[in-house]
Symmetry: C2
Subunit: 219 residues, 2 copies
């Protein structure tokens, strides 16, 4: 698969780029070509140090990345979502978008989920793109730090929410290519509000209890 | 501690009564004295078969149970919350209430969280009781079945949400008396919406993925 990764909220995009271990073609998107190339080079360097496999990873501008991709990972802050979608709109044909977007803001030194009028960022995103685009929500409840540290053994569950059955199936299969992550059907796209609101909750939970970045496991 | 357990949504009350392993005095509350006694007897029987410790467990009417207790576990369906609180109101002095209440309804064969106007069932409950009562939310994301099966080894995390620091500290300490459960500070009472809404999500997740009842672990 050709996977475009746009944005890198809390390094989660980097972690994903690395954790697919060259099983897929990774296209790093950025607003600027030079920045995209630079990021892709740095990821390629890490992969060269950790694997002998041939990795296909490159960096291009967001719209070009989307045009080349089967799967588009959107990992930008909620505030940047609308302008990002505007900029990639002409390249959207029949890709599947995975939303990692979480609308949240700081309040009294903790993070607070700010529920959009549409119900969730994922539903909002679905409304911004053509009907031919399958949208799912996933990867909200992982430790980005742990994901980026290739020496760290993963043991996470990822709930995938989406109402486009084919798109959801495709994404679940893709996630299962990452060692140490179990992908589960998390229900409809409107259920994404649960996994989105869990993101600031987990960040606060780690902080309040002096723990490392937290992800989730359903046991 | 003297712990009153009112109601038993999905057997979670039963599981808790058993899992404290006679470290605390358990008072089962019910609308009828005879039913409370009957339930308490059946739990006592299970405990006799599983431990040699002396267990203090009895059943009385809800209002009497609350009057005797330091800690009150409220595990009734959301629809029954108001009338339950009305019935125990005269017995409420300075107890700590743990809310397990989740407002949810069936929709297309799955469960859906129905957010109350107050933000969560826990906040609603706080508004219904005197100011002297500390209210926390906990125990939403556990498998009741696993809790009730004493041969099953537990490995869960329980996030405790509450804005009364002393009450929260007391409950966290109490939860740590249960083998296999780690209690974590889950933030303010208003944060309870996250753990409440996770309850139907977990039930649906198990159903959609053909898994046993699910609880949660933060890793």
């Amino acid at each position: 698969m050709k996977i475009a990764i746009l944005g890198g909220t809390g390094n989660i995009g980097k972690g994903l780029a690395l954790r697919w271990e060259c099983k897929h073609e990774i296209i790093i998107g950025s607003r600027e070509q030079s920045k995209a190339e630079q990021i892709a080079d740095s990821y390629a360097q890490i992969l060269r140090e950790n694997t002998t496999k041939t990795c296909n990873i490159r960096g291009v501008k967001n719209d070009k990345a989307v045009a080349m991709a089967d799967i588009v990972i959107v990992a930008v802050p909620y505030q940047a979502l609308k302008s990002l979608v505007d900029s990639i709109q002409p390249s959207l044909t029949n890709q599947v978008i995975i939303s990692l977007v979480v609308p949240m803001e700081k309040q009294n030194s903790y993070l607070k989920y700010v529920q959009p009028d549409d119900g969730s960022a994922a539903v909002k995103l679905k409304k911004l793109v053509p009907d031919t685009i399958g949208v799912v929500a996933a990867f909200h409840n992982l430790s980005a730090k742990k994901l980026c540290n290739l020496e760290s053994h993963l043991d996470y569950d990822v709930a995938v929410c989406g109402s486009d059955k084919e798109a959801k199936k495709k994404v679940i299969k893709l996630i299962e290519d990452i060692n140490g992550i179990r992908a589960l059907d998390g229900g409809e796209l409107e259920d994404a509000v649960v996994i989105e609101s869990l993101t600031p909750f987990l960040i606060n939970l780690a902080r309040r209890n002096n723990l490392q970045e937290l992800g989730v496991k359903f046991v």
